[in-house]
Symmetry: C2
Subunit: 292 residues, 2 copies
DNA sequence: CAATTAATATCAGAAATTATGATAATAGCA
DNA sequence: TGCTATTATCATAATTTCTGATATTAATTG
């Protein structure tokens, strides 16, 4: 039965154009390649090359086989790359839990960089609300967490502050609050507030409930849609809201006690005393520069 | 360097759960598998199995390698399937030119059947207007053509009549013709007709231009859209028009001289005196039953 | 707990595969 | 017409893989 060496000879012969050149490149002797290709042809019962001319030229059938051979060899390269990555201790998978509010424009660039540097390591994104994330990190269900900080710090996980993310108070353009020039906290109280909340019912500390009425979602994109549907007002990450504000689908409220964007701190969470592989460490370092 | 046999041993051991069972299945002796796996582990410098227990169990690293090994073996199977298909003379590719009006509901089933029977043969669909197709067949640019027949028969290509395809005369619901109970040919003349025409400006014989004014497209789906936009009336394949008629987006005209659906003949075209491989012949036979 | 069963590891020699080096034949080229 | 570079073939050498025997051990059974 043919082996990978045979396929390698075949592909390399096509590449270089001759058996001799292939032999030189693979560190073999010409007759080895000649016999190797011949035995491959016998095994497959297909004539791969037309030898009537000086340089062997692919037959139609040969070029069809070539596609498969190349594809097999590519995967062998992948396998070898994977073993190299295993030897250097790279993880099979890195799991990142993040608040959907933190799907910043820079993030895809980081993921691309990850894919370039750790091509055989899988990346799993768990998108949940901030209050649920520290539990996932603690339980070892994810390697890293990316959250909007909470007041009470969980000392069982490592915290790394990476910056502040500006939030805007917004409502629908036809919402009663939109027509008001200046708003105080008391003005907001009568209207329904839309708040992020984890599935375990703990709210986000940075944004304590202000209004008497509040609705909850565990995803900022849902809240985004609810604001635009006029269901209430909310604090939303500026990078999410700005797009809709520019399209006049949302209105940014002018709040008196809030003359600069309210910017809660963002943190990376990582389990304490756990072995971190190079891919997790790389991701951790990159996430530090998520906020400019 | 490891070989495909090694990978096969590895995958089969995982499958069967033991070296002995793997050996039985692969027609080898137990020690061959034991040594084979051991040498694979040396080559990769990875411990694939944990032997502390009776049955070897995959290590975390081993299961990562397994994915790659399986994927390589799958492709080797594909290569072998391809050689089998080459030996039986199957084509690398079948090219079918068809009128977009003939994208009948049965067609995808035929394509699925093709994919099952000829998994390594590519299928290329060239979607052009009927009048252009016989030229493509004649020039050898496609293997098969599927057309609405034309009056003048091109004797340089083989014709095979497979049935009639009903057409309906339609217009937009708010078109002036829609309100008329009975229509004669003379009634149609003043209104713009939308006609299929190939890129070489020859019209379709089955539908000679009736109105003084006509617009042209080389694709029935375009004509479909134009009819619904009220740009004119047209003869459309029933299977295309019925859907829109049911939704009241089109109106079927009641034409006096046309008490049954007008059903032009459909033909398959195939080049004369050309070698046809099994895939082309299969497709040819299946297309014969395209029209029930 | 002892006996049994079925599995794995190891090893030396056999078998098979693959590589080598020499040689002959030939296509392309100056 | 030589010259060069290439391919095919062949006997032999080297390497790899397989075989069959044996020792050991993990589960199972009574």
């Amino acid at each position: 039965m043919y082996s990978l060496e045979h396929l390698r000879m075949f592909a390399e012969t096509v590449e270089t154009g001759s058996f001799s050149a292939c032999a030189r490149k693979l560190g073999k002797v010409q007759s080895a390649v000649s016999q190797g290709i011949a035995s491959l042809e016998v095994d497959l019962d297909v004539e791969l090359f037309d030898r009537s001319t000086r340089k062997p030229t692919l037959t139609a059938q040969g070029s069809r086989i070539l596609e498969f051979a190349r594809s097999i060899l590519r995967q062998v390269d992948d396998l070898n790359a994977a073993t190299a990555s295993i030897q250097s201790g790279e993880e099979a998978e890195v799991r990142l839990a993040m608040d959907s509010a933190l799907a910043l424009p820079r993030l895809p660039r980081i993921f691309h960089g990850f894919s370039d540097r750790f091509p055989t390591t899988a990346l799993e994104i768990v998108s949940v609300a901030s209050p649920d994330i520290s539990g996932l990190v603690k339980a070892g269900e994810v390697d890293l967490g990316l959250i909007i900080s909470e007041a009470e710090i969980d000392n069982e996980v490592e915290h790394c502050f990476i910056g502040n993310l500006p939030f805007h108070a917004v409502c629908a353009p036809d919402h009663p609050l939109a027509s008001r020039r200046h708003l105080s906290m008391n003005d907001l109280i009568p209207y329904r507030e839309l708040l992020l909340r984890g599935v375990d019912k703990t709210g986000l500390d940075a944004f304590p409930k202000m209004s008497t009425l509040a609705w909850f979602a565990n995803d900022y994109r849902t809240i985004c849609a609810m604001v635009m549907d006029g269901l209430g007002w909310a604090y939303l990450p500026a990078f999410l809201a700005d797009e809709w504000i520019a399209q006049s689908r949302m209105h940014r409220m002018n709040i008196r006690f809030d003359h600069k964007p309210w910017s809660p701190p963002i943190e990376i969470l990582i389990a304490k005393e756990t072995f971190q592989g190079p891919a997790t460490r790389w991701m951790f370092d990159e996430l530090k520069s998520l906020i400019v």
